[in-house]
């Protein structure tokens, strides 16, 4: 019976493993203008399992800028960094933390 392929038992609802459906928890990287030509980069929506404190420490050292963690009531903890670090942060998150590029959104001009 098993020689007939069509009669093999296949569960069509089984998890195929290549799901792309987690659209809710994006990581947003934004930029804000300050006075003059100074800017501020915010990283919002990092997953909880990462230690933000250590990440900020690494980011500060890597990008040679200051930064801190801000607690927001709705959005949780947000990383703030001095200057336009959007592309660098993106690179760091994908290479060091192994986050997927499609889950990260870069905003701003």
């Amino acid at each position: 019976m098993s020689s007939i392929q069509n009669l093999n038992k296949i569960d069509p609802f089984a998890d195929t493993g290549d799901d792309d459906t987690q659209p809710t928890n994006y990581i947003h990287i934004r930029i804000q203008q300050r006075n003059g030509r100074k800017t501020l980069t915010t990283v919002q929506g990092l997953p909880d399992e990462y230690d933000l404190k250590r990440i900020v420490r690494a980011l500060k050292k890597d990008f040679a800028c200051n930064g801190n963690i801000v607690k927001d009531e709705e959005l949780g903890e947000v990383i703030q960094l001095q200057g336009d670090q959007r592309v660098k942060v993106m690179e760091f998150l994908t290479s060091q933390l192994g986050l997927q590029k499609k889950n990260i959104k870069i905003h701003g001009f």
């Binding site: 947003h28 934004r30 804000q32 300050r34 915010t42 919002q44 905003h107 001009f109």
Partner: protein
């Protein structure tokens, strides 16, 4: 049967490949049957025919009818002849052919609206069979002539959005002069576009009396163009057909925004604009 008759008949004869092939075959057979043709020649023909009939036919024809050069008209003529009169002696046949050949070539050129290139292709076809490259280029020529949009040519419906016009308003503000115009082009409400701009740029602003948008912060036109581009990709273009002719609708039942394409009718949901986190800049919060 007379010359006029054949001419009338030929008027109906379209230049179809199938018919042509048929005609060539019949001609060959007749030639073989006639006693005037040399035995050697006929033998050659037979051999050739077995291998490739389309290739062999024009050679044989050329040998038989010296004067007529235009193979196309000639072939057509012969076919008609065969149908109407088989027992005609070969001498008369050839003479008539010559006459008709001359007449016929003229008539075909005037009657049928075929271009010179088409004729060339036909001649080639009868000589060498059907080369793929030639067929392909001919197909695309015809396709381009008749319906160019299928041949990959865009029919001028590409939307053009005017570039954003920016002026500095004082030291710290930017005036975006043609928001109104751009939002009309995109068929979106200016409020929607403005709220997206503010969310993306992380600033705030207002619309002044001349319907210009005043944004806090200094922005170059190029920066605004980038943001506009992203807005168009997310909220204007249809993902299925790349059309820009879309509508943004708010579903009243689930309070979600849907993008409905006017040209292909597809629908997709779009996320509402979220401002996200904005850091405290300047003065500290009063505790």
């Amino acid at each position: 049967m007379s010359v006029e008759e054949t001419n009338v008949d030929l008027g109906f004869d379209p230049t179809l490949k199938k018919k042509k092939k048929k005609s060539t075959k019949t001609v060959e057979e007749s030639n073989e049957a006639t006693p005037e043709v040399d035995d050697v020649l006929s033998g050659l023909k037979k051999k050739k025919k077995k291998s490739k009939d389309s290739k062999s036919t024009p050679d044989a024809d050329e040998i038989n009818t010296d004067d007529v050069t235009d193979s196309l008209g000639e072939l057509k003529l012969k076919k008609k002849k065969k149908k109407s009169s088989t027992p005609v002696p070969d001498d008369d046949f050839d003479k008539q052919l010559e006459k008709l050949g001359l007449d016929e070539t003229n008539t075909t050129n005037t009657n049928t609206a075929e271009t010179i290139t088409d004729d060339d292709v036909n001649a080639q076809q009868s000589k060498y069979g059907l080369p793929y490259d030639g067929l392909l280029s001919r197909f695309f020529q015809i396709l381009k002539k008749n319906n160019p949009e299928l041949a990959g040519e865009r029919s001028g419906t590409k939307f053009k959005i005017p570039p954003p016009v920016c002026q500095r308003e004082g030291n710290k503000k930017t005036a975006f002069a043609n928001v109104q115009e751009i939002s009309e082009k995109l068929q979106r409400s200016p409020e929607h576009l403005i709220s997206y701009l503010f969310a993306e740029l992380g600033t705030s602003g207002s619309v002044d009396g001349q319907k210009r948008l005043i944004i806090k912060g200094r922005f170059q036109p190029k920066q605004l163009e980038n943001v506009l581009r992203r807005y168009i990709i997310e909220y204007v273009t249809c993902k299925t057909c790349k059309s820009i002719n879309t509508q943004l609708k708010k579903e009243s039942s689930n309070r979600l925004f849907f993008l409905v394409c006017n040209s292909c009718g597809s629908t997709r949901s779009v996320s509402s604009i979220k401002t996200g986190f904005s850091a405290q800049i300047g003065k500290r919060k009063k505790m």
